[in-house]
C-alpha cells in the first residue's frame, strides 16, 4: 500500500508539472493569437469613425501602445507574482472582473451538473438494465435528440414558454446585488436547463455503455453466480465501473461548461467568464484576455486532475501503476 501511495504521489506530481507547462504554453498561444486580431484597443474604444490621431493618443494614455512582446513579458512576470494587471478597456484591475465572472460561471455550471449528473446517470443505468427494451430506446433516442438541439434554440424556447408565456421563472440570470442564495438559485434554474438538455443525452449514453459493459463482464457474472444480492452487485461492481467513463466525460465537459457558454450567458444576461473572454478578445484587451483564458485553463486542469484522482480511487488497476 505504501508503494501504491508513492506511485500515486509521483503520478500526481508529474501531472501537476505537465499542467503548469500547459498553462504557460496556453498563455503564449493566447499572446500570439492576440497579435493576429485586427484593430487595436483605442480603435475598439473610440469606434471605426474616430480620428487616427485620437486613437493613437488614447492608446498612449492607457499604455496600449507599448511593444507587444515587452507587454507580454511584463504581464507574465506580474501574473506570476499574483497581479493580474489592469484592463485597458475598463482602466481598472482585472482581478475583480475575472473573480466575479468565474464565480458566476461556477455557480451556473455547478447547478447544471447537480441536476444533470444524477438524472442522466439514473437514466443511463435504467436504460442499461432494460437494454434493448422500449424504456432503453426512449431514453437513448430522447437523449440523443436533445443533445443535438443547439443552446440558442432550447434557450429561446425555454424563455418563451417558462419566462414570457407562463411567467414561472425569471428570464434574466443576473440578480440584484446582495440578493439571497435562494433568489440567485431561482434565477439560475432557467439558464441551467439548456445545459442539462445538451449534457443529458451524452452522459446517459456513456453511463449506459459503461453499465452494459460491466453487466456483461466476467466479474459481474461471478458476483451473481456466487449469490450476491442484485442490489449489491449493481452498487458495488456495476456502478463503480460504469462511473469511470462518466467521470471522464464530465471532466472533458468542464471547459465547455465554464468557458464556452457565451450564447447562454448572452441570452440570459449572465456575466460569466465566456462572454468576458469574448468581449476582451473583441476589444483587444490583452490583460483581461490572458487572465480570463488562464483562469479557464486552470479550472480545466484542476477538473482533469480531479477526474484522474477519482478514477484512480475507483479503479485499483490504475493505482498499482502500469499493471494495466
Amino acid at each position: 500500500m505504501g508503494s501504491d501511495g508513492a506511485a500515486l504521489a509521483a503520478r500526481l506530481a508529474r501531472r501537476l508539472a505537465l499542467s503548469l507547462l500547459t498553462l504557460v504554453l496556453l498563455s503564449v498561444v493566447v499572446f500570439a493569437g492576440g497579435q493576429l486580431l485586427p484593430g487595436n484597443v483605442g480603435r475598439a474604444i473610440l469606434g471605426p469613425l474616430a480620428d487616427p490621431a485620437a486613437v493613437a493618443a488614447l492608446n498612449h494614455r492607457i499604455g496600449a501602445d507599448q511593444p507587444a512582446l515587452a507587454t507580454y513579458l511584463r504581464w507574465i512576470a506580474h501574473f506570476a507574482a499574483g497581479d493580474m494587471g489592469e484592463s485597458y478597456v475598463f482602466r481598472s484591475p482585472v482581478a475583480p472582473f475575472i473573480g466575479r465572472a468565474i464565480l458566476n460561471s461556477l455557480k451556473l455550471a455547478g447547478l447544471a451538473f447537480v441536476i444533470v449528473v444524477p438524472l442522466s446517470m439514473a437514466a443511463g443505468i435504467y436504460a442499461a438494465l432494460h437494454a434493448r427494451r422500449w424504456a432503453d430506446q426512449v431514453i437513448s433516442l430522447a437523449g440523443l435528440s436533445l443533445t443535438v438541439v443547439p443552446e440558442f434554440v432550447s434557450s429561446i424556447l425555454l424563455i418563451l414558454v417558462l419566462g414570457v408565456w407562463l411567467r414561472w421563472l425569471p428570464i434574466s440570470a443576473a440578480t440584484r446585488p446582495g440578493s439571497s442564495a435562494l433568489d440567485q438559485l431561482q434565477h439560475l434554474i432557467l439558464p441551467a436547463m439548456p445545459l442539462v438538455i445538451v449534457l443529458f443525452g451524452y452522459i446517459a449514453r456513456m453511463t449506459r455503455a459503461g453499465t452494459v459493459e460491466a453487466l456483461e463482464s466476467d466479474y459481474v457474472r461471478t458476483a451473481v453466480l456466487k449469490g450476491l444480492p442484485w442490489r449489491v452487485v449493481i452498487l458495488r461492481h456495476v456502478l463503480r465501473n460504469a462511473l469511470l467513463p462518466t467521470i471522464t466525460v464530465i471532466a472533458a465537459q468542464s471547459s465547455y461548461m465554464i468557458g464556452g457558454l457565451v450564447v447562454v450567458e448572452t441570452l440570459f444576461r449572465y456575466q460569466g467568464i465566456g462572454s468576458l473572454i469574448l468581449t476582451a478578445a473583441r476589444g483587444k484587451d490583452f490583460p483581461m484576455l490572458e487572465a480570463g483564458i488562464l483562469a479557464v485553463g486552470a479550472i480545466v486542469v484542476v477538473a482533469t486532475l480531479a477526474a484522474d484522482i477519482l478514477a484512480t480511487v475507483l479503479d485499483p488497476r490504475l493505482r498499482s501503476g502500469g499493471s494495466r
Binding site: 486580431l37 485586427p38 484593430g39 483605442g42 480603435r43 475598439a44 474604444i45 473610440l46 469606434g47 471605426p48 469613425l49 474616430a50 480620428d51 487616427p52 490621431a53 485620437a54 486613437v55 493613437a56 493618443a57 488614447l58 492608446n59 498612449h60 494614455r61 478597456v89 475598463f90 482602466r91 481598472s92 472582473f97 429561446i156 424563455i159 418563451l160 419566462g163 414570457v164 411567467r167 425569471p170 428570464i171 434574466s172 443576473a174 446585488p177 450567458e265 448572452t266 441570452l267 440570459f268 444576461r269 456575466q271 462572454s275 468576458l276 468581449t279 473583441r282 476589444g283
Partner: protein, 557 residues
Amino acid sequence: MIRMSGLVGQLRRGATPLENHFADEFVAGRLDRRGLLRQGARIGMGLPLLGALLGTLDPFAMPTARAQLGNQGGGKPGATIRVACLMPSDAIDPVTVANAGGLVLLAQTGEFLAADGEDLVLRPALATSWTPNADGSIWTFALRPGVKFHNGHVLNADDVVATMDRLTDPKNGSNALSVLRGVLSVGGTKKLDDLTVAFHLDAPNGNFPYYVSSDNYNAIILPADYAGDFEKNFNGTGPFKLDSYTPKVGASFVRNPDYWGQRALPDRTEFSFFADQQPQILALQGKQVDVVVQLAVHGAQGLLNDPDVKLIKLHGASHRQVHMRTDMPKFADKRVRQAIALTLDRPALVTGLFRGLADVGNDSPFAPIYPSTDKSVPQRAKDLARARELLAAAGGGFAATLTTERLQEIPDYAVLLKNACAEIGVKLSLKVEDQSAYYGNAKFGTSDWLDAEIGITDYGHRGVPNVMLSAPLLSTGSWNSSHFRNAAFDRLVGQYVAAIDLQTQRGIAKDIDTLLLDETPVIIAYFFNYITAVSADVTGVRPTAIAQVDLQNAAIG
C-alpha cells in the same frame, strides 16, 4: 390676436436682425411652428419673442408635451423604471465614450449646455441662452446660475472652459474630436465672467450650438478638476444621481433632490446591460424591464404588433451609404453611378427592410427631418430604362465586388442591391465581413471600408448634417470612401456650414443636393427611424435619436 401682434412688434424692435429674419420667415409661412422653435433655439432667440410669435407663454412646453405618450406628463411620481440598454463596451468616461451603452449612461447624470430633443429643437439646459456674432465665428453662451454638481460644487464658466479644452486637446484622445476638429480648438473656449463663456471657432459655423448640445454626447459639463474617474461617482448636474454601478452588469440611479429644474418623477431607475438585442426583447415581453432604449427593426418584428408594448418612433438621420470609388475605372463615369442609383426601388426598401419605419433618401445627407433640407429637389426613383441607357452610354455592364459589414439589415440590403444591379447587367459579388475586419485600421490603404470599389457603410444620426457633409464627402474628408473630389462641392459645404439664417442654408442645401444627384458619389436610399420600446403602462419616456433616453418624467400606470 391684435394685442399679440402689438406685443410681437414691440419685441421685434428690440430683436437682432437674425431674430427678425426668422420672425419674418414664420409670419410668411415659410417656417412652421416647429421650424421656428428649432431655428429660434439654434440662434438663441429670446424666449419672450419666441413665445409671443407662437402665442404661448412657454414655447418649449409644446414640443415637450407632444413628445410624451399617454397621459401628458401627469404620471404618478415614485416609480422604479427598469431599463434595458446595450452593454457599455469600456469605462464610462465622458472624454472617450463612443458606444451606445456608454452614452446612455452619461446622459443619466450628466447635462449639456443645450439639450437636443426628439424634434431636433435645442432647449436651454446648463446654458440659458446663446447668441452668435455677425458671421457666426464667435458664440456667446450665458450659463444657468445656481446649478450644483452632485458633489456640491457650483457650476461656473471655468468648468465649461475646462470641459471643452479637455475634449478638444488632441493629446486626450477624445471621441469628441471627430465632431469638434476644425470647428473648435483647444484654447478657443474663453471665460467672459463667472456665468458667461465665448466660443471662438476655427471657422464661422451657423449650427454651432448643436456641437455643444446633447447631440455631441461626450460634451457633458464636468467640474474643472475632473480627474478621469467619472465611473466612481458619475458626478454631473442632472436630475438623477448615481446609486450604484457595476461594470458589465448594470447601474442604478436615484432622484437628485437638489436638481435645478423640475424634480424627476421616478424615485429610482435601474439599467441592465445586455450584449444583444434578442434578450432585451424577451426581457421586455417577460416584464423584467419596462424600457428598451434602442431597437433595430431587423430582429424586432415580433414587437411591432405586440399589444403589451408601445413603440416610440423617431424620424432620424441614421442611414446606410452605398459608396462607389469615383477614382476607379469601373465607377469613374458618373453615368455608371447614376445608373446604379436608378435601379433601387426605395419605397420597397423602406417597406421590406424596415416595415415602413424609415424615410426614403435622395442620395444626399440632407434627411427629410432637417429643416434646412429643400424638399423641392426632385426625388430619385427607380427607372430601369433610363439606367440601362446611361450604362450603355458609359460602356455597358461589368462585374464588381461589393464589400460591406455584418450589421442589422445591411447584408439583406446588399443582396437587394445586387439583384437590382443584375437587372441592368452590373454583376456584383458580395463580400460581407465582421465589422472590425471591414473598418480595419480606418486609414486609406488599410481598410476595406475606405478602399473597396463599392461598399455599404452605416452612419448614425446627427442633429445637423454638417459632419455627414464633410467627413465622407469633402476632398479632404477622412471617411471619404468614394474618394469624391469636387471643388464645387467643397465650396458649397463651406458656405453651408458658415450660413446662419435658414433661407441661405436651404438655398445652399438645394445646390448641394442637385450636385450630389448629378455626381452620385454615394447612394443614400433611406433614413431609418430610431425605435424605443416601452411597456404599455409606462409613460413619459423621452428618447433622442442619438440613443439617449430621458426618464425625468417617466411613470408607470
